[in-house]
Symmetry: C2
Subunit: 215 residues, 2 copies
């Protein structure tokens, strides 16, 4: 997609940094599990931060079947955003201050995934998406846990991305103004894993844990 799939998806401000192609959108979704789900609850807007993962042209998120967010979004319109902060852009004027970032916004109607096998398969993908192979190492999931978990899904059909990189973009005349301009890069860093003090003697950390990355 090189054009917006719907009017409300068209990026109006900074449209030169807008993207509508699946490759760009998928790459951002895959890089950052943290998302914000917006919905209307009793007439009021609510935003709930949660974790999303993707398969094909859909994102998924889960939650306690008792949670306000889960109860409020079933078959309801939602707006899901994912944002990665890549840097502070110090321009020559306050007006041209910016942040380097990658973001995605998806509109749609949230669907509950009811099929137990598909639910289990997606929850495994969620867990293994962080640490490959981890699902099979864990204490197996119980039927009761599966029931207490609701899986939601949203098609990535009405989506847009913004990607802003590089140095400041100042007004032409401002390049003659003698102030330092540039970018302070920001990224997600992963520190050394901290074992649970209650780990059993002899359990080994899977090497995949050290490969965890985000952003």
């Amino acid at each position: 997609m090189s054009s917006p799939p719907s009017a409300r998806t068209r990026v109006r401000r900074y449209h030169h940094i807008a993207h509508y192609d699946a490759a760009t959108i998928h790459a951002i979704l895959d890089a950052m599990p943290m998302c914000n789900v917006g919905y209307v609850h009793e007439g009021q807007p609510v935003v709930t931060p949660t974790l999303q993962w993707r398969e094909g042209d859909r994102i998924y998120w889960h939650g306690s079947s008792a949670s306000r967010m889960i109860r409020a979004v079933k078959s309801q319109p939602v707006c899901v955003t994912v944002t990665i902060f890549d840097g502070l852009v110090l321009a020559r004027s306050a007006y041209n201050y910016n942040i380097n970032h990658r973001s995605v916004m998806i509109f749609g109607v949230a669907e509950m995934v009811e099929d137990p096998q598909e639910k289990r398969r997606q929850l495994q993908r969620f867990v293994d998406g962080f640490i490959p192979g981890q699902w099979d190492r864990l204490r197996p999931v119980t039927e009761q846990e599966l029931k207490a978990t609701t899986l939601m899904s949203l098609p990535i059909t009405e989506a847009s991305a913004k990607v802003r990189t590089g140095p400041p973009e100042d007004e032409a005349a401002d390049y003659a103004f003698p102030v330092w301009a540039g970018v302070v890069p920001v990224r997600m860093a992963i520190d050394a894993p901290v074992p649970d003090p209650r780990n059993l003697p002899g359990v080994e950390m899977p090497p995949e844990v050290r490969a965890f990355k985000i952003g």
Copy 2:
């Protein structure tokens, strides 16, 4: 505040990690400028990522006066969230997977700040909040730029925080299950500032730029 200021602000899930005191809420808001503003636009929920800053019991954000978000939130109910991802919590069961995080959710009605002096003062606080003293180094803001910028404000009266730290919390019986459990810490890292190739010869980077921190 040690109790929720309103029913919709009461944290229902994981209520043991909920906080309602100003010190906890302010510290999270001050640590992370990235926020998500949720609002209702033409009957649909919309979430717009933007940057917030705080003074006292209010947060502020700004935008182009022409932007959809700015036009939609004036005197309207909003929900603003700020989330900091601190770590992936690898429990012994998928059900107890978690993330260490600090988050804030604020409900309220967004107010436009119309007084030009207050607008200018807050925009200076925004710029100086990243890099102290930077506002006075920049090419001065023009009246036209101020007019093209809308400043919004939200009182932090109906707010809650969640703070989750430490090792996994597994079911009692699961501690006997022989799988590695622990936390993979995540943080925002700042890399060396990258000067704009178009900087004038001889302009020096203010030392405050190197002190920029986030998260």
